[in-house]
Symmetry: C2
Subunit: 216 residues, 2 copies
DNA sequence: GAGGCTAATGACAGCCACTGACAGTTGACA
DNA sequence: TGTCAACTGTCAGTGGCTGTCATTAGCCTC
């Protein structure tokens, strides 16, 4: 009984995971180096030596492969919100979960890509209309999931009270503005992203109050 | 000089407009009656007795035809914001422009469809993933345009001050939540939409403050 | 460790959205 | 009325995506 494998991954599972990761890596590499539109599914499949049909068995479509990396971090974010202490106010819980997410981004995706590749893929998404569209739709789904988490935390009925959805929608809106700013700017460091996120969240109140001309 | 036509529409222009409108009408009719995915471009073209190629000369794609009706009202909304008196605070200007938009919806689309068809088309968009994605992307573009209008009104530099984008993003978020609620609910009247819009906008402040458990 | 079961894959055919190229038709305008 | 340019139809082709079916290859049992 030396070096046992308790949960028994199984050779089949291993291979499947390997194929999936290789396809994803190849897709990210091709998308970031030559663009999303100029990359065909056949190309990705060929890079991993599988048939095009197999690609579609691992990913629902080309889009899904392009958004899979981001999907990993989004999933972690949702879990992060769920794990926040119950005494935190909703917006504060969201804020902390996002900041933690940025901090642990590197470990979350290391089996697939580097942080730099993640950022480059993000740029591709933001600059490719069809990908941006899909990204926004998925963000909407994520917001719905998080609204459920908040409603549960606060013991509210989401169908009767719009505040959970409103708070999450506002938060999501700020995140989108932040992401855009972050891509447009020069600072690609995770610390820079954390700082920008905090700053913009603090500006929501002032932005809603009007009287912009007298402020800053 | 009896019954002159000053700007001279021209027979060609007339025919073009006619083809465009007929294609749009046919598309809306087919999408709302049998669904977006189950409608092919050939079907739409055939309903108007033009070739598939011609359809693509009038619409960049199937999606554009599905979103064109909504696009008319969105364009009017942007103009509405631009036309609001300069003394209004940003959020107030947005609110008034939207409410006015609902009120004049009927006249805006009458050459193409009825209000009921507009609502049904909206449901199709909301329930078809690819259309919802495209819709959200276009909304993002609209928000950018409106942020520019607000920044100009207030004499701000959008690249230095995030408040115009933040305010518009928050407003857009509320609108999306409202639209969803409105589609889920039973009340399809324009008056009901106006009322819901007002109510949700009033809730943004409370939603951000937390302490949900003590309030209503 | 041979054979059966089943999941994973490849190969093939086909649908549909969309595009480029070219030729035919029809308003516009001198 | 004839010329020009815009509009359209036809055809061929690309690429994303799906259904089907035969083949391969882990897995499990006896």
């Amino acid at each position: 009984m030396e070096t046992t494998t308790p949960p028994r991954p199984g050779l089949r599972e291993m291979k499947k995971r390997r194929t999936h990761d290789e396809l994803l890596r190849a897709a990210v590499h091709l998308f970031t180096s030559q663009g999303y539109e100029r990359t065909t599914v056949d190309e990705i499949a060929e890079a991993v030596d599988v048939s095009q049909r197999t690609f579609f068995r691992y990913f629902a479509g080309k889009e899904e492969a392009a958004l899979a990396l981001e999907g990993i971090t989004v999933g972690r974010f949702v879990e992060g919100v769920r794990a926040r202490p119950a005494h935190e106010a909703p917006m504060e819980a969201l804020r902390q979960a996002v900041l933690e997410g940025w901090s642990s981004l590197s470990e979350a995706i290391e089996s697939i890509a580097s942080v730099e590749q993640y950022l480059r893929m993000y740029r591709v998404i933001e600059s490719t209309p069809v990908l941006l569209a899909a990204h926004l739709r998925r963000s909407a789904e994520t917001e719905e999931a998080i609204a459920r988490v908040l409603a549960e935390r606060e013991g509210l009925d989401m169908d009767a009270d719009p505040r959970p959805r409103l708070a999450v929608a506002v938060f999501g809106a700020v995140m989108r503005v932040t992401e855009r700013q972050w891509i447009t700017g020069e600072d690609y460091s995770l610390e820079g992203m954390r700082e920008l996120t905090s700053r913009y969240l603090d500006q929501v109140g002032p932005a809603l109050l009007g009287g912009w001309r007298t402020g800053t």
